[in-house]
């Protein structure tokens, strides 16, 4: 039994590459700096371009890099903290809301949304589209579903659509007594329209925040917000949030 037997577990090349690049980013590069192009980098490391790309993809996922077609790969700034938990117990559109209305339409929602709202499958609901800007960058897009029953005072001919209509719907919403809310966060990939708004390619990783608003003993509104996962850190306290991460080492025991 004199065999060492610990040289097994050959680390994948792209994984090792990622480690090397991470260390290089930490020590030799500054935010905004452009990296050599993929073909050069691959040649420098002696791997195929696809292998290098596998490493770059992960680094982009972790928010360390930013890649733009036709331009190049740059070192990303640290993720921005985006507060999603401070507006606790306030309706969307209330004072100090971080969202900007884009437009509004009356249409039949996806089946899953209709189920959560307990409306009929084909019953149209007010669908408000909003976007959120933070640190000068578009970080999220939202679809807010509001059943007609939640805004009974809305006059039908105020404005058919557009931001004026949006504001009218949100104004009416404030009249209800908000009884509570409910949030969930999960990983998703951007659909084509979301991607365009967020200046990403379709399929880009996003954090989907689903919020249910309760009033009158039922779900009075439902928000589905899509945040860029590469650039955002969602914070739930009232403070700006910690900036932990990029750990070099690890536990022992």
């Amino acid at each position: 039994m004199g065999t060492t037997q610990l040289d097994s577990v050959p680390e994948p090349k792209y994984w090792h590459l990622k480690t090397v690049l991470t260390e290089a980013l930490d020590s030799e590069f500054s935010v905004g700096e452009i990296l050599p192009n993929e073909r050069d980098l691959a040649a420098r490391f002696g791997v195929a371009r696809a292998t290098l790309r596998q490493a770059l993809e992960q680094l982009e996922l972790e928010g360390r890099l930013q890649r733009r077609r036709g331009v190049g790969t740059t070192v990303a700034p640290p993720r921005v903290g985006v507060a999603v938990g401070t507006e606790q117990h306030a309706w969307p559109g209330a004072e100090g809301d971080a969202w900007q209305p884009v437009d509004c339409a009356l249409q039949t929602p996806p089946a899953a949304v209709a189920a959560a709202l307990e409306t009929g499958a084909d019953e149209p609901v007010h669908t408000v589209h909003r976007s959120r800007v933070s640190h000068g960058q578009r970080v999220a897009t939202e679809l807010l579903y509001i059943p007609a029953a939640s805004v009974p005072g809305l006059t039908a001919i105020d404005a058919p659509s557009g931001t004026a209509r949006t504001r009218a719907v949100l104004r009416e919403l404030q009249h209800l007594a908000l009884e509570g809310q409910d949030r969930a966060v999960e990983l998703g990939s951007a659909r084509a329209d979301d991607a365009k708004e967020l200046d990403r390619l379709p399929g880009a990783p996003v954090l989907v925040v689903t919020t249910r608003f309760f009033a009158q003993g039922r779900t009075a509104a439902l928000s589905v917000a899509t945040y860029r996962a590469d650039t955002c850190r969602l914070t739930f306290g009232d403070s700006p949030g910690v900036e932990i991460h990029h750990d070099p080492e690890r536990r022992a025991s």
Copy 2:
């Protein structure tokens, strides 16, 4: 001008593939069912295996598929809702805590953690390792950093390590008055050790939940929890959480 000019934007093959597969999953497959292998699927759709894999990767990211080397690709069950917001204002290890202690050691934390705890860069802190099981599955792993100053009553010789030591540290923690806490969620990729615990490959997408616990006017403990992004939906309300998603259609304006 009579030109149609709307046939541009050639959709990538893998994107179209993903759409087709999604629809097939919704209509023709049930949870747990195994798909044909990648080589067969690629041939059936007339694409290279790498292209098919690009589509499968996204579907796995979205929690629709589960792939295991040596086994095959199966239809994943809906994501499980994991409550991370109900233990508001309670120390880790308090009654009803969802986490199971694994072990514990006194060691110097990563630089970023030391900074958040305001301890010296080389000062060792109690590092508690815990794991979380939900619906019979390991869904998360956690490292909990507790400066010695937060557990002054801890006798040094109770137990050097192991779960006994872990329990002693957490017990001492309960004696402090918790003044508040702070949470952040971001996307990350699993390190080798986390991946092993979560039964995933290194680099798998994870949701990293960072929690700061405040007491005595400072950060008395810091938790970094790593959740499987493919199988988990983090819920922040007190209800089990909505199950929205898999939208077929979309707004009009």
